[in-house]
Symmetry: C2
Subunit: 252 residues, 2 copies
């Protein structure tokens, strides 16, 4: 079975997320949506609304991954500098997109202000990303897709983007949660991992006043290998008298 | 008033966060704790448990920021590769830290396994980060501080690290939430921003079926400038008949 890997990075632009004041939920939503298409999200970055930071991150990420999806910084106020910064990253002028300005003018009762119309300015060579919630579109240029930061608007923009992205081969995940401690099972688990080069086995311990244990997460594009590795892991846990809580995408 | 700026990046290492299966909460916790010390978190990255990815990110971030705090990948299993990857990033050998192995041996009833003892292996030149919850320490080397991914353990390790970090000049934040729309106030807000080079004014619209409006966030190290800019912003909102919900660190 040939494997084709499509990768992505998510770039969250916004002082409020960085300061810890606002808990980011866009990352998790976008990562899950891309995973459903078999796209591997290999990196997430959160940066300030700062031109130099945006240019640096966009240029590094677009050269390293198939797709870059950004969120934030595309509103009508002075601190919305994502579009102009991405134009600079691509060394292309920021220009009025007449389709975008038509949409903005059409939804206004009166002549829109310059600040309001600024949302129609995009890097030359961009294509529109449609917004079925509040109409005002965003854009993509080359492999960089620019989404709103507001979760409700980000979601409808992502709906417009997803069908345009190439699909990869889906990764399936089985997980086993038990009271096994990492130090108890570490050697057996490493032995199982060494048998399956095409399965990635992650071990995530938990530890609080009520509960100690480990969630073992097996991930693979190959369902046969995933079944075999999961069965071996389950047998291993049972040999230590740990009966796990099972969450299987692929039954064994 | 002179300003001294201490910066930091947070590097979250873990497939589970990237896949969207686990919602990261460490970022927000660490960012808030650093903000209290006046340390500016300028970047967050989330990457896979992948050696090349860890080496690249650690080397880039440690050269760009005063401090780098990592979370994740320091347990006893085969997928815990943070310590060995950071040793490679620093081009220094991974060696047993005898203080760390003494702690591990001391808390074990029987001779610890090799996997269990692997948690005492750290880049040469590291210093210990203590763990008041489950004892097993982590390490820092130069400006890179390596914390556990489990939130409960991360928190006690951060307690050990924070007093060692330099303090910066604190940033104060005032925020004003109202039903003003960005397109209504964008010009006035830009005019206020242009008067205060040492205040950063962010505008964060919200939009759902119940509510539309904007949160304006004013941030500054200079409390006098923050007061003046906040007063002007409040007056501006009231001139449009918007009475905001006020969340002030510095009263005007």
């Amino acid at each position: 079975m040939s494997e084709y890997i499509i990768t992505a990075a998510i770039l969250i632009i916004g002082d409020e997320i960085l300061s810890g004041k606002t808990q980011d939920t866009n990352t998790s939503y976008i990562a899950k949506a891309l995973a459903k298409k078999g796209i591997d999200v290999l990196e997430v970055r959160i940066i300030q609304d700062d031109e130099a930071a945006i240019i640096f991150a966009v240029n590094e990420l677009r050269s390293r991954y198939t797709y870059v999806l950004t969120t934030g910084g595309i509103g009508a106020t002075h601190d919305d500098i994502t579009a102009s910064s991405i134009a600079k990253a691509f060394k292309t002028p920021l220009k009025e997109n007449t389709n975008a300005s038509a949409i903005i003018k059409n939804r206004s009762k009166e002549q829109p202000t310059d600040h309001y119309l600024s949302m129609a300015f995009m890097p030359e060579g961009s294509n529109l990303i449609l917004n079925s919630l509040s109409e005002i579109p965003s854009f993509y240029i080359d492999n960089v897709y620019v989404l709103a930061g507001m979760p409700s608007v980000m979601k409808v923009m992502l709906d417009d983007v997803l069908p345009q992205l190439k699909s990869g081969q889906k990764v399936y995940t089985n997980s086993l949660t038990s009271n096994a401690l990492e130090r108890e099972i570490a050697k057996d688990l490493a032995d199982i991992q060494s048998l399956f080069s095409n399965v990635s086995i992650g071990s995530y311990p938990f530890y609080d006043e009520h509960n100690k244990g480990t969630t073992l997460v097996l991930r693979s594009r190959n369902t046969d290998a995933l079944k075999s590795a999961t069965k071996k892991t389950l047998d291993m846990l049972r040999a230590y008298n740990h009966e796990p809580i099972i969450d299987f995408a692929i039954q064994i």
